[in-house]
Subunit: 209 residues, 2 copies
């Protein structure tokens, strides 16, 4: 039997250090923040050496930018896979998404909080590259949410002439705020409570309150 492309289990496989570093950054930065997370720490969590780090990334900042892009990719399945995405009524899809986000708010805080939201707080004034990368990720989220909102408005109408993109950004804002509250109290319940307010608001806007 010849050697195959399939990586063997006993040897550390090559070529995935970059992905492991990004995953380690997601995990560690969500727990400790960006500045408090050292390059050495990320390397240790990823199980690679510092040489590998600076082979793939020119700087810590470059990793941060790549990790922000990676976060967008990681979040994408959230809009495609869950069953509620198959619902016929766009408003049901929107409400299904809110319920989905609500269901995520369980367990350790660092497992459901937002990587880019955490990072942008520290870097918005010191690194415009990181800030822009985080903005792109959050904008991608809102862009993914807006079509269903737009369609729901078209089908059901909405109170006070609220815009689709504006509401999408508000959803994101409430989620980010809920994360902070959960971190503050070290309790996800307080975050669920806020997202429940958000759901009620949406229901009322669409006349289902």
């Amino acid at each position: 039997m010849t050697t195959t492309h399939t990586p063997s289990q006993d040897r550390p496989q090559r070529g995935n250090a970059r992905a492991k570093l990004i995953a380690a950054a997601h995990q560690t930065v969500r727990r400790k923040g960006y500045a408090a997370t050292s390059v050495d720490e990320i390397c240790a969590a990823a199980g690679v050496t510092k040489g590998a780090f600076f082979h793939h990334f020119a700087s810590k900042e470059a990793l941060a930018v790549a990790a922000a892009e990676g976060w967008t990719a990681r979040a994408a399945p959230m809009f495609e896979l869950p069953p509620h995405t198959k619902l016929d009524d766009p408003l049901d899809r929107l409400l299904g998404h809110i319920d989905f986000r609500l269901a995520m708010l369980e367990g350790p805080v660092e497992d459901f909080t937002c990587f880019v939201g955490t990072m942008v707080q520290e870097a918005y004034a010191t690194s415009d590259a990181i800030r822009a990368a985080c903005e792109a990720s959050i904008t991608a989220y809102c862009d993914a949410l807006a079509p269903d909102i737009e369609a729901a408005i078209a089908r059901h109408g909405i109170a006070h002439g609220v815009g689709a993109m504006s509401l999408a950004r508000h959803v994101q804002a409430v989620l980010q705020g809920a994360f902070i509250m959960a971190k503050t109290a070290n309790d996800p319940a307080i975050a669920r409570d806020s997202v429940t307010h958000l759901k009620r608001y949406i229901l009322m806007l669409f006349g289902r309150g």
Copy 2:
């Protein structure tokens, strides 16, 4: 003329280093985050030396805790001074407060964002002392907001049995989330938009939508 208790202008006055350090911490941490702000930097911003720093605070963490307490004190006048606090209807006072917060969202982002909200994001998992101090500050805000909400519910009733403290926490969550969005886009307008959604939600809850 004998020397008085009034500090002369040419000599640096004694006894206010502590307050200056806390103010410098508020300013610097809101811009760069907690971990990225060095003790030397805070000292430079406050115009005092490192010796003075460690005379007043046992550690950087101790300053953080004191600064969180100082933040609460700094925010208190917000609930007492503005004209809307004199309104008769508690719902008008609540809405007046939201409008007041809305009006604050102007100019440079680091001038209206929340010190404790920024700090707790970085420290919730690494320093429980800081986390608890931030929680106390945010809880104090909610406690100050809740009585008017409670009274407004008593006078006007509220939809869906929403609780006063729950709504107060939601107000805080939306504000925190709005700050993150403003940092992300480097633009206060996006934050104002979210707080406008919040105001509309409150209006609808109280049947004024």
